[in-house]
């Protein structure tokens, strides 16, 4: 059976699944329940300096639903812990003592001044926690006070605060990054330069989930007004995967460990984050939606998949897909495919036709009897028909072999790899010499 034990920058856990810093890790009661359920670790909900902050007293969450009220995304306007620092520290110490094999990382957010970090770091260290995570990500509320995303959006602040922390604690420092920036590599490089042991990402995406069209208030509505919140859950996973991959394949940060976060709901999501370079993964929305018991599916699924693929340990999975993430300009332009519709599987809904005819390349025709067929002369292999077909594997992409003629271009498919950098239409093309 695959070994799920994880050693992430010296922080050990029985599996790579940590609960992210959020309401599920707000206090001893929840965290103990999580550990009993089997979670590998937690990032304790962000601590700040006293006097502790207060939260709104109305709704904190907004939601986006898919079919059957399936939660696709949640946004929140909750702030960091609203309990006294001393209470949190006492509970952290107790839990770590009771559950020594689990990862206990403490999320921190204090003003962007060195004295503040010097004040809190020893107190956290005293609890016996395994590491700290610097919350440079929260996009709402705290950012208005010069913390959270307000730091994470300025690389030099990231570097500065990271350096303070490294100078004032022996604990590993994980820098949590906000996705509300233009290029994730810059904050990651700043964290690296400041001496961070790792980065974790993504934090939530600035968002308004919906507008109440009767009251004209954004949701969640507090007395008729709304404030942007932080979006998370399955809807943000593609954004998170890309950002993780960008850092993993960046020459400057390629060896910087990553704790992956963003919409992880099943073992498969987790495996994808691991493959793109995450050494551990953090989960929140799925636990908030379904409860802590999902850990059984996550661990069993990951373990079974690793057994099936012959991966003995988490290390063997981490980063395995990174070499295959490349720039567009290096994609092989001699790789030619055509859509193929399996007529036995086709249920004749015509969605492929509507999509292709109205919005793509007019490459599907309707023959008598609602028979939908691809017109090779027009098909650019965009994949939209595959994406909108309700029947899995009914439409597939056939790879043309070298020597075949692409009926759209009339050209013979070449077997050599060739990309944009050498394409004659590229004004900057270099001759392949």
């Amino acid at each position: 059976m695959a070994d799920l034990r994880t050693d992430f920058v010296g922080i050990k856990s029985p599996n790579p699944f940590w609960l992210a810093s959020a309401p599920p890790t707000d206090k001893e009661y929840n965290v103990v329940r999580a550990f009993k359920a089997g979670w590998g670790g937690v990032v304790w909900k962000t601590l700040g300096l006293d006097p502790h902050i207060v939260n709104v007293n109305g709704p904190r969450y907004g939601v986006v639903y898919g079919a059957d009220r399936r939660v696709l995304g949640i946004n929140n306007i909750e702030l960091i812990t609203d309990r006294p620092l001393e209470v949190n520290l006492r509970e952290i110490k107790q839990v770590k003592r009771d559950w020594p094999d689990r990862a206990m990382v403490v999320s921190l957010m204090v003003p962007c001044e060195e004295w503040a970090w010097k004040e809190i770091l020893p107190k956290v260290e005293e609890t016996g926690a395994d590491g700290i995570e610097l919350n440079f990500g929260c996009p709402h509320g705290m950012s208005e006070r010069g913390m959270g995303a307000a730091v994470g959006q300025v690389p030099k602040y990231i570097e500065m605060v990271t350096r303070w922390c490294k100078a004032n604690t022996r604990m590993p420092v994980i820098v949590k990054l906000t996705p509300n920036i233009t290029d994730i590599r810059h904050p990651a490089r700043a964290a690296y330069a400041g001496g961070a042991d790792a980065v974790s990402l993504i934090n939530t995406v600035s968002s308004i989930t919906s507008v109440n069209l009767d009251t004209m208030s954004p949701e969640p509505s507090i007395d008729g007004k709304g404030s942007h919140g932080g979006y998370c859950g399955p809807a943000v996973k593609p954004i998170a995967l890309n950002m993780v991959a960008e850092i993993a394949r960046d020459v400057e940060t390629g060896d910087l460990p990553i704790s992956g976060i963003g919409g992880i709901t099943t073992w498969r999501d987790a495996a994808e984050f691991l493959s793109l370079g995450s050494g551990s993964v953090q989960v929140c929305t799925a636990a908030m939606t379904y409860g802590f018991k999902i850990i059984d599916e996550l661990t069993r699924g990951l373990s079974d998949w690793m057994d099936e693929k012959g991966y003995a340990s988490i290390d063997e999975v981490v980063g395995r897909a990174v070499p295959n993430v490349t720039d567009w300009q290096y994609l092989n332009l001699n790789y030619v495919t055509k859509a193929r519709i399996d007529q036995d599987m086709c249920i004749k809904c015509g969605r492929c036709f509507a999509a292709c005819e109205d919005t793509s390349h007019q490459a599907i025709e309707i023959k008598p009897g609602r028979v939908f067929e691809v017109i090779d002369e027009e098909c650019v292999a965009c994949n939209l028909c595959v994406d909108v077909c309700p029947v899995e594997d009914c439409i597939t992409m056939e790879v043309l072999q070298p020597g075949d003629v692409d009926k759209r271009t009339g050209k013979v498919v070449e077997k050599e790899y060739a990309n944009w950098t050498t394409h004659p239409n590229n004004p900057a093309a270099k001759a392949a010499e």
């Binding site: 079919a67 059957d68 809904c349 015509g350 309700p390």
Partner: protein, 444 residues
């Protein structure tokens, strides 16, 4: 009452009173809002959707389902009602399993179509509960049209004519409008007085007067109507029933399924309706199933449908046949009645087995008997009292595609006219299309 299913003869009150409520409740309970959203989400919004083609009134089904998905069931209802003003009733009584739902691509894909009928009911119920009538009349044209028959064809025709600004008078032989919607459909398909509620809702458009107790040959003549009105539409249905031949068919206890169903629909308390201990229904259509199932629900001990051909030839759909058998009705295929035996009242029906011969159905010579104190005939209805001068074709009023009869200024539709299946939805389509043609001819 001390009667039970085992009490001999034709008697009322065979069941405890609470059983009647349960037995005659809605066959398909309405969706609640969330169920409707989940059901609506299964629609693929097909290109040139086969369900639309399969609907005799060509409702834009993917559009109305998408409107339900988008949280606008009342707008969905308008999409339905634009094509089919009796969309509420059709949602309840259409054999969707042989129409839209049979054509649904998910039926082909997984044997589980989008539940179009129930979604249609969700939409139309939402609108009717809100008390909204979403159509307005055009400016008055000064033209007057007589509609004979306040069934689905007549009502659909009247509504469309009124929308175009014409004045309409609808005549009906019965004391209440609605036609077969009111008198001819199983109670569990349209509970809570829906048929009358729908007529009242339909009339909200205005410009339509209903005169009951008047029929052609009984207070009305086509000649008079033609001279008094600018156009006439006949939606008179099939008022007669086919006669059963054979020895003893006039014995007590032998009756028409149509009358049995009508009495059930009009009963204030179904417990007072007498039903046999052993009921035999002869026929293979929806009427046979409706009569048989309801006999069982009234407490008959044994109910048997006997049909002269095979299962596949039965005009009641497989769904209807399964419904009957699930309620405890036995269906005997390939048998035809020979005689009703009994001393004054029916006691047994004698049948002969049949087979498909080289040219037509033929008896095998082998006979059997089924105990029957009540025999219900459901072997088809016939056109009764069609005015003279109209060309008939295969026993129905001959009409063009737009419902024109052989007589200038007279249109016809629904069961009394040629074309289409004898379904509520077909009648609505024919009434509507005739109204459009009448409007065109009056505007010319």
């Amino acid at each position: 009452m001390t009667n039970s299913p085992m009490t001999p003869g034709i008697v009322p009150g065979r069941l405890p009173s609470e059983a009647y409520c349960e037995n005659f409740a809605d066959l398909h309970a309405p969706y609640d809002g969330h169920e409707a959203m989940v059901a609506a989400d299964r629609c693929y919004f097909c290109y040139d959707a086969p369900c639309i083609t399969a609907c005799p009134t060509a409702i834009d089904i993917p559009l109305f389902i998408r409107q339900i998905q988008a949280g606008m069931p009342e707008a969905a209802a308008k999409t339905i009602l634009e094509q089919n003003i009796l969309g509420g009733m059709c949602a309840r009584v259409c054999p969707t399993e042989t129409l839209c739902e049979e054509a649904c691509v998910r039926e082909a894909a997984e044997g589980k179509p989008v539940e179009i009928g129930r979604l249609q009911r969700h939409a139309t119920d939402s609108l009717m509960e809100a008390g909204v009538h979403p159509f307005e009349r055009a400016a008055p044209t000064g033209k007057r049209v007589a509609v004979v028959g306040a069934g689905p064809a007549g009502l659909a025709c009247a509504h469309r004519l009124s929308m175009h600004g014409h004045e309409v008078v609808v005549f009906d032989a019965k004391a209440k409008p609605g036609g077969l919607n009111e008198f001819g459909i199983a109670s569990y398909k349209t509970v809570g007085g829906f048929a009358q509620a729908e007529v009242e809702w339909l009339l909200k458009i205005g410009g339509i007067t209903i005169e009951t107790g008047k029929a052609l040959g009984d207070g009305l003549s086509l000649e008079d109507l033609k001279s008094e009105y600018d156009a006439v539409f006949l939606g008179i249905g099939l008022g007669g029933v086919n006669a059963l031949s054979g020895e003893g068919v006039d014995k007590d206890g032998v009756g028409d399924a149509v009358e049995f169903i009508a009495a059930l629909r009009q009963a204030k308390d179904v417990a007072t309706l007498p039903v046999g201990r052993n009921v035999v229904v002869i026929g293979g259509g929806m009427t046979a199933v409706d009569a048989a199932v309801q006999s069982k629900l009234l407490g008959a001990e044994n109910v048997t449908i006997v049909y002269r051909r095979g299962k596949d030839r039965m005009s009641a759909s497989l769904f209807e046949q399964d419904l009957a058998t699930s309620k405890g009705v036995k269906i005997v295929y390939h048998a035809q009645p020979v005689a009703v035996h009994g001393n004054g009242s029916a006691a047994e029906v004698e049948f002969e087995y049949t087979r498909d011969g080289s040219k037509s159905l033929e008896g095998t010579g082998e006979t059997f008997r089924i105990p029957a104190d009540q025999v219900l005939k459901a072997i088809g209805q016939t056109l009764d009292g069609a005015p003279e001068g109209l060309t008939l074709e295969r026993g129905k009023i001959a009409v063009s595609e737009t419902g024109r009869t052989s007589v200038e200024g007279v249109w016809a539709g629904g069961d009394c006219a040629t074309g289409g299946d004898d379904l509520t939805v077909t009648a609505v389509a024919e009434g509507r299309d005739a109204a459009e043609d009448i409007h065109k001819s009056l505007s010319a």
